[in-house]
Each structure stands twice: as structure tokens, then as C-alpha cells.
Symmetry: C6
Subunit: 249 residues, 6 copies
């Protein structure tokens, strides 16, 4: 099976090379986990290292702020946009749509808009940031399922590989309510923030990846000046009885 | 009582030979647990080792993707389909049915379609992947119960042995809400993903199996290049005070 | 007070001889706990050892499957039915009643049917398997309470001793929502499945038994080739700090 | 302040003599905790040791079964009824009232009936067993509050001392939803069943007792051949690290 | 800033002298925690030691019972009432208002009544016991917020210092749903009942006190023959691994 | 990227200099955590140390009380208001708006009022205290999302840097329901109150801060006579097995 490297060091190791080509992968994370950074890194590396065109569908952030926020990683999005390697589709105005506009009309319109853009620029990589704004309008489970399916089909119909970013609702102790998207997607990557004895740890987990063998364990990751970086050979270490080594407040 | 071997090593040991013939067995698992792999392995082994014909009713995945995803296990579904040993009934388009179509009409139609196909090809093994798409349209408990019962009867009326795959909603700490299907099925197998101190463990459990003696304990399993494999003599080990042996991040 | 032995070894010890005669006892358990086995054992032993006639009201399973599933314990139900010692009232078709039939009509009809059969064969022992199918149609607490009360009266009006089997909804950590039937029944027996450090343990508990002294502790039980067996002198042992003695996976 | 001894050894110690005269005390307990036994013991001892007449308002159990169940403690209720020292008001038929009868009519009627009986026999002690059947018909919090208040007033208007028995909904881990009656009653006694490492412990707790000094700690209690008995000098011991002393199953 | 001593030893230390003058302080506690005792102590000490007039608005208890229950602390309310230093406004009859009376009419009427009484006697200290009866009629969050705000304004408009007593809904493990009143009040004092290893501990906590420096820690308190007493220099000690020193039951 | 120092020692270290200029930062905290103090400190330091004008939009507290409560930190708001460096927009009367006024009218009106004031005085720093009063009127998730977005835009349209204060609903054990605002804001700072073994600890955490590198760990903070102070080099220490060093009650 053909693979699409993510551009996130260590993650491609966990995947055995990269994401399966032509699939929809769900990336879930809480606030501050690094979903957007992951999405942009996926397109940036795809453009710079593999010469693959990418489409970024932005629901929550205007392109202006998006470009600015990514500067700290040294990613010059404006240049790639000029070179036609990255295209940002700005759907952020839609957030402010008054409720009077029929939900189904909104749904059809947004998905149409994305579909048209995909057919126009034929990207190899697509990022949807984020599913939440779209599906939050469909509290009904059946409609939510159908909307997500349509979104997935829009991405895969042209054989592109898509990252769908979404909000990870928090864990109850040791469990959480699984989202319907997790069962429908071909793969699911979780960007988790663990808290153990008041110490914050970031961990990445491949919850599911159909058709390819992968590392199922939680691995630590950080966000540094180059973006996301996964330590794929190291385990997340959650001590329960270690000797406290930090000074007391 | 006649037995139907699952084709999953170690699991047939736990069952004392195999599943009871002519029953409906519920297989529950979270995303990435291996439900679909289990279902396909059941039909593949049934065809190759026991020459039993099987029907795969696919609600969530198109046959194209299903065949591709199973290649990594060396299972050539297309060949078996040509030989008439495996038949894939593609009901995945139904996922996108607009809500305007009466739920009961959908229910009757789907069950009719499955019934007709079963009567036509008379399989010995049937897999429904997955119940969720069907029952998610019936939030009412009574309707859900009745739909599941009809589905079970469709499978058993011709004396076939059926695996019904379904989504396992996650555990609250030490407990979860049981599904009505668990009380109605003849047997229930759980594909569980445990997380202990940030370490992921896969464990299989026979929660219920009427009429046959079986191993009730959680046993570890993996998904390797040959499909699912259960370690039926080993216990899942959940240490609480072991010495940490992995290097710290 | 006159006693009715259950036929489950060890449990009669816990009860000080047996159940109080002429009462309704609620038996709650999760899937695979052994409720049905317990119910049949109660009637089988009652017939074979005490020559008492019994009525089995089956809501969830057809008599055909019920007889087959009990064969592994050496219980020949068909023979006892011929001898008029056990009678199976098959109400399983009712599960598939479309919702259009008035709930109250269903309720009255089912309870009438049971009442008529009880008056006809005058059993000393009655098992209702299970209450869930009946009461799931009455989400309203007041109606649920009333339905259960009518069911109890039907059993006790002729001085029979009844086991009402019902589904045990699972524990949240250290607690669960109590069912109204638990407060109304004369006695409540729980067939619990504990999970401790991934090890499954079956435990029986007499939560309540009015009018007789009884053992309130959790005791271990198994299901072997003779049915349910309780170890009434042994405690369920839940280690928290024991040395792990099983090999690691 | 004048005191009314409960007749439960050890509990009167915890109360500093007995319940405050002329108040309404709520007694909460789960199934099998011993609420009814407590209520009957309160009236029995009141009649036999203090020559005080008592009224038992029974919502859930018919007098026939009530008398029979209390025989094992050596309490001959029938004799006390003949001597006019105990009166049982049987309101158990009301449980089966169809829902069509106006809830408010039921409420007014029941409270009227109780009020008339209280005025007729002028008891010094009153037991309501149980509040649940009455208030379960009033899911609305305001109505529930008002109904309970009316019930309390009925008891106190003639200067009697009342025990209102009610169902204790179970604990979530370390907490539970408090009932409005707990804030309205003058005193609250909890009959709790603790479970620690699969070992069942019964513990009594005076959650509240206005106007008198009392022991607030959980104390162990048992139900033996003489009724309830509280060990008021001993603490409930919940070990967390004790050496296991029971043989393993 | 001017301070108003509470009269509860130890608490005034925690507050750095007393409550800020002219504010509304919320006092939350469960049943039996001592809310009413705290409220009366606040007025009693204010009258006796500072010659400040106080108004007690009683929603839940009649003045007759209130006076009687406070006798055990040696507080002669009747005498202070005669001297015009304490006034009890009896709003307890309102509890029994049938639901047919418009909720908003009730609200306006009650607040009017309180406002008139405040303007008539011009107290320096006010206690509302309790908010629950008032706000339980307004399940709507916006109305509840507004009602509470009106109640606060009524108290502060004349520069009085007010204690609003309210019911503390219990903790889920390690957390609870915060009430809107907690965010609106100037200060919040919690009277908590902790339970650790079956041992009951009472602890007071100043959750919030705007404008003044205060002790935020949990401190133990008791209710003895003089009312509430706080041990402001001692910490609540919750052992987790202490050697058990009490005799076993 | 240009930075805006918060004026809270230690926090600016954690941020690498200060907040990103021209963004909306959400500050969440429970009652007593110090949200308001943080907000005022942000404006006070901005005015005094950086000569930046600030606008304080107060929904919950009248300016009179606000000024008084801040005196204990030595912050003379009145003087700064005279100098035109701080402006307090009093929207607290709105809290008492009867529900009859259309919610959408209220929303438009409030946001209009704020927008007009912002355009009039052109502040560099804005504090909204608090979002809760605004959004509590919009239980509908879509409306809530849109209202928050409008509020954010109002702040950023003139290039100001805004702190939006909001109530932090409490943690279930180890998790909580995330608010939609957390996903929409550019940054999120949590003022958390931890409770460990009955000891209260205040900890600050930067949950998210787009576009800048920051310290993600929980750090202790206090509120002393100078306002909030963060100990950015020290970890919050949550002992699990430390020897108890405080005297027992």
C-alpha cells in the first residue's frame, strides 16, 4: 500500500512509513494539543519535501492569523501559497451565520464549496480544521453520521489523503464517550494531554489505522521550534510511587 | 452441541472448540480493536479451512476498501468471492440516506435485503458489520430491542452462525452502560483496550456464551500479520506496583 | 417459616435452609452471570428432589433454545415437561410486537396470560425470565412500580414462590442506581461479576431477604457442569497488594 | 428537651438518650438495610417498655406479611394490636392505583386518611413506611417539598414523634445526590451498607439531629435475633492495607 | 475596610477580623453541617457583644422550633426579641404554597416582604435561611441568577451585612457542580463534611472573600455547647497510610 | 511577534515575555481563584508601567464595589479613571433584566454598547468580566459559539489585546467538560484550585497560547498584598505518600 509521510518525525515511524494513501484520518486533540500545528506541518512538509499540493480548509481561524501563528516554526505559508503549493480555503466567516439559515442548506453549501475547491486545485493532501464547527449544528446522531460521511467522501473521491481535525472531549476518569467519527474514519490519531500528580504530559496515540500495521502505544511528543516531534521509541512514563524530585512550593 | 471454529487461534480454545452452531454472537469493540478483522478472519478461515460459505454484510465500508485493508493479512477476498465462498453485501450507500426517508421503511428494507441474500446464497457463516449504523436510527429502547431481535432471527432462520459486530462504548471507571443487545444475544465477546499507567493492552473476554462451558477470563490478544491471535493460556497482567522498567521521557 | 430450597448448593446455606415460602425474590445479574441457569436449576431441583411443579415464563428465549442450552448441565427439560412437572410458557414472540399496540393493552394481556396459566397448573415454583422485556415498555416510574407489583401479586396469590430474573445495570465506581423492584421485592439476590486488576470473579450476594436471617456477604460462585455452585464458606478475595503470580504477556 | 428512646441499643447512646420529642426524623436506607425492622422496633419497644401507643402507616407491605416477617425477632404484633398499643394502617392497596387518578387527589386523600387516623388513636409514636411510594408521584421538586412538609406537619400537629422511612439512593464514589427531605427533616439517620474490598459492612450514621448534641460518626450495626443493634463505641473500620486473612477462592 | 465579626471563634481569625461590612456572604453546607446554628450565632453575638440589631428570615423552620433548638447553646432568642435586638421574620408558611400561584408573584411578594421588614427595623445583620426554598422554584438559570441578585441587593441597599444560607449539593469525587450564587456573592464559606475511611470530619473553608486577605485552607470545626467553633491554626488531617488505631468491629 | 506583558510576575516568564498582541485570551477560574484581581492587575500595570489605556467591562460587579475591593492591593482605580487611563463600563444593571426582553436583542445591545465604547476610547487593553452573564442566556451551543465569536471580534477589530474572564466549572475526577470558548480563543489560562488530602493549592496553567512558545506546566501562585504572583520556576507538588507533618485535629 502506498504511504503518505506526515512530516512529523517519529510519527511516521509509528505508522511504518506514513499514512495509508487516499484515506481520511481523524486527528483529535484538546485545546493547546497542537492539532492546527499538525495540520499545517502535514501540508508544509508535503509541499516542501514531497512537492505535493495541499488544501487547508479553515473553519475557525482566518488565514491572516493562521499565517502569523505558524511563523514561529519558520513555515512561510504565504510563499507556498504564491507557488501554488498550499491553498487556504477561508470558511471562518461561516461561524457567524445566524441560526435562521437552514442547517441543511448550510451543510450542503459548505460541502459543495469544499468539493468545488478540491476539484479545482486537485490537492494530494487536505486538512479540515475543524469538524466541530460543521457538526456542532447537527446534534442529531444520524445527521451527524451522514454529514461526516459526506465530508469523508469529498476528500477521498479524488484520491487525496485527508486529515480531519476535531476537538477531543475530555476524559472522565479512565474513559470517555467515543465520537461517531472515530468509528467511521479509516484511522484515528489522538493528541492527548495527560495530567499526573499535577504534571502535564503530552502523548500521541494511534487509536486506529486500518490496513497497516502500527504502533498502538502512547508515545511522548513535544511542540518545539520545528513543530510537532514524537519520541517514538520512548514510553510515556506515569510514575505512581516515584520519589518526588522537585522542590516543594 | 455442534461447534463452529472461529479461525482465531486461542479463541477456539477459550470456547472449547468453537462457537455454538446456529447462534448469534455479538462482538463488541472500540475503534481499532479489530472487529472487522475478526469478522473477515471468521469468514476467510471458514471458507479456506472448512469449505463453508460466508456472507459479509457491510454497512460502514465499501467492498473496495475492505478488500484492500485485508490484503496485509494475506487474505485474498476477491479470489474467494470468485469461487463463490465469500459474498460481500454492500449496504454502505445506505449510510448517506437523508433523514426524510421513514426510519421504519429503512429498517424493513435493509432487513429484507439481507434476508433475501441469505436465502439466495445460503451461507453457513454470516457477519454483520456493524449493528450500529442500523440501530442508531432507533434511539427508542423498545424499537431498538425489536430491530435487533429481527436481525438475529434473520441470521438464525436458516441455521447459520452469525457474528454481529458493534461499537463498544467506553468504560466509565470500572463500569459501563450495558447494551440491550448483550442481554439478547446468545453470546457476547468483548475486544477490549485497557490502558494502565499509559500502557495500552488489548484483551479479549467472553462475557457470555449460552449452552457451552467457556473461559471467562480476560486474555491478551494481538493483531499481527496473520490477523487476530489470542494468548489463551496467559492472563492480562495489570501491575500496580511494579518497578518501572522503561526509560523516562 | 416454611422454606423452599433453591437447589443451588451453598446458597441454601446462606439462606439458612432456603427461600421463604410464598414470596417473590428478585434475581439480578449481568449478561453471562447465570440468571437463566439459576432459574432453571430452581425448577429442575424443585421437580426432581422435591416433586414440586414449576412454571417457567420465558420472555427472551424460545423453549427450543432453552432446552438445548440446558442440556450441558444434564437437565432433561423435555422429560420433566412430559411428566407435567415443569411447564414452559413461551412469551418470546411478544418481543417483536410493533409499538403501535397500546402499552397498557400489552401489559394487561401478558399478566392475564401468566395469571391464567398459574391458575391452570398451580405450580409451587415460578420463574419469570425476565422482567426487563416487560418493564422496559414503562419508562414512567409510577407505571413501572405498578406493573412490578401486579406481577408479584400474580405469583403470590396462589402461594407459590417466585424468582423474578432481571438485568443488573452495571456499577459506576462503587455505586449504582438502585431499581425500584429492589425495594418492592421480599428478597434480592445479586449475581455479580467483579473485575479486579483484569481478573474476572463471580460473586453472589443476598442483598435483602425479609423475615429470615441470612448471610449478607459476597461469596464466590461458579458455573460448572452441574449448574451454579456457591462457596458459602469462602470470601471473595480482592487483593490490592498481592505479589503478581501470573506470567506477563 | 424531652427524649423518646428508639429501643435500638447503642443508638440511644449516640443520641444522648433518645430522639427529640415531637419531631420528624428521616431514616434512609438501601434494600436490606433494616428500615422496616427499625420502624417496627421503634413502635414495639415504645409499647412494651414505655407503654406508648404507636401507629404504623404501611405503604409497601400488607399487614399480613409485616406481622409474619417480624416474628423472627419475637415481636408479636398481633397481640399489641389487640391491646390497642400498636395500630397498622394499611395503605398498600394504593400502590396499584392506576395513573388516571389525579395525583393531587391521591395526595390529599392519603394525607387526609393518615391525619384522621392520627386524630382518632392519638399515638405517641408514628412510623411512615415509606415516603417513596408517596413522593415518587411528584417528580416536580416544588411539589415534592410541599408534600413532604404536609406529611411532617400531620405527624407533629399532635405532638407525636415520627420516623419517616425512605429509600437511600446509592452513592456515587464518595458522594450522592442529597434528597430535599434531608434538608427539611429535624433529624436524619442513615442506615448505610458499605462495601470495601468485597466485604459488606453495615453502618449507622446520624447525619443531622437539630437541637441535641449527638455522635456524628459512623458506627457499626447488625441485625440479629432481637432486631437492630448498634455498637456505639466502635468505629467502622475500613482497612486499606491490612494483611488479607481469609483464604483465597 | 470595616469588619463585622461573625462571633464564631477561629473564623474571625481566618477572616482577619471579620466579614467585610455591607456585603452578602453565602454560607453553604449539607444537612447537619450547622448552617442554621451559624446564622443564629452570627445574630446572637452581634446583639450581645456588639449591640447590633439583626433580622432572621426563616423560610424552613417556624420561630417556635427555631427558639427551642437554639436553647441547648444557651441562646435565649425570646429575650433578645423582646429587647428588639433580634427579629425573626417567619416565611415558613410559604413553603406550602400550592403551585398554582404564579412563581413570579411569589418571588416579588417574598422579596417585597423582606425589603419592607428591612426598611422597618433597619438591622445591621441579616440572615436568610435558606435560599433554597426561594430559588428551587426557578430551575431556569437566568431567573435563578436574577432572583439571587435581587435578594443580595435587598440586603445591601441599607448597608447591612448578610449571610445567605444554602444547601451544599454533594461532591462527586473530587468535584461538584458550582452554584451560580457562588460566583455572584462577595464571599463564600463552605461548611463541609468530609468522610475518609468511614470517619466523619467537619471542615470549614473560605472559598472566596473579595477585598480582604483570608486563610484559604480547610480548618476543622466542631459544634459544641457554645455553638460553632473553628480550629483556625490546625489543618484537617486526612491520613492515607496511617496505622489503624481503632479496634475492629 | 509583539508581546503585551500581563503585569503578573512569573506569568510573563511562562509566556516568554507576555501575551501575543491583538489576541483574545480566555481566563478561567472558580470562585475565589482571582480572575477579577488578574483582570484589574492587567489593566493597572498596563496603565502604570506601559502607559496603555484599558477598558474594564463589568457584568457582575458595580464600579463602586470593584474600586473598593481593589484598594487592598494599593490600586487606586479612581485616580487612573480621572487620568483617562482606565475606563470602567458598568453593565451590571443588565443582570436584572427580566426574561421577557428578547435574548437576541439583549445580545446585540450589549455587544453594540461594548463596541461603541471601544471605538470611542480606543483602549490597548480590554477585560470582559465575565463572559458567563452573557452566554448563560444562550444554552444553545451554536448560539453560544456565535456570541463568543462576536465578542472576540469586537475586541480584536481595533487591535486591542483582550482578557475574557469566565467561570471554570469544576473537575470531575481527572476530567471536565471543555467549554466551546476554549477551542475558539487564541489562548487559555486556567486559574485552578487543587485540593489534595484536604490541602488547598492554587495553580496556574497555560492550557493554550497560539503562535508562541510557552510553559505548559502547572505552576503555583498566590494572591498577596500586591495581587497575583506566580512562582514560575516551581512545580505544584502533589505528594501521595509523604509523611504527614501537620498536627492532627
Amino acid at each position: 500500500m502506498e504511504r503518505v509521510p506526515t512530516g512529523v518525525k517519529g510519527l511516521d515511524n509509528m505508522l511504518g512509513g506514513g499514512l495509508p494513501s487516499g484515506t481520511c484520518i481523524l486527528v483529535l486533540g484538546g485545546p493547546g494539543a497542537g492539532k492546527t500545528i499538525f495540520g499545517v506541518q502535514f501540508l508544509y512538509m508535503g509541499a516542501v519535501e514531497y512537492n505535493e499540493a495541499g488544501l487547508y480548509v479553515s473553519f475557525d481561524e482566518s488565514p491572516l492569523y493562521l499565517r502569523r501563528n505558524m511563523e514561529c516554526f519558520g513555515w512561510d505559508l504565504k510563499r507556498l501559497e504564491k507557488e501554488g503549493k498550499v491553498f487556504i480555503l477561508d470558511l471562518s466567516p461561516i461561524r457567524a451565520f445566524p441560526k435562521e439559515i437552514e442547517a441543511s442548506f448550510v451543510k450542503m453549501n459548505l460541502i459543495e464549496t469544499i468539493r468545488n475547491k478540491v476539484q479545482e486545485i486537485r490537492p494530494r493532501r487536505i486538512v479540515i480544521d475543524s469538524l466541530a464547527t460543521l457538526v456542532v449544528q447537527f446534534p442529531d446522531v444520524v445527521e451527524r453520521r451522514n454529514t461526516v460521511i459526506k465530508m469523508f467522501q469529498t476528500v477521498m473521491d479524488l484520491g487525496a489523503t485527508g486529515l480531519m481535525l476535531n476537538e477531543l472531549q475530555t476524559t472522565y476518569y479512565r474513559g470517555r464517550e467515543l465520537q461517531v467519527e472515530e468509528f467511521l474514519a479509516h484511522g484515528v490519531i489522538l493528541l492527548r494531554t495527560l495530567e499526573e500528580r499535577a504534571r502535564i504530559l503530552k502523548a500521541i496515540q494511534i487509536e486506529k489505522m486500518r490496513g497497516v500495521s502500527h504502533d498502538p502505544q502512547l508515545r511522548p511528543y513535544t511542540i518545539d521550534k520545528n513543530g510537532l516531534k514524537v519520541f517514538s521509541k520512548e514510553h510515556v512514563f506515569v510514575p505512581e510511587y516515584s520519589i518526588p524530585i522537585r522542590s516543594k512550593k
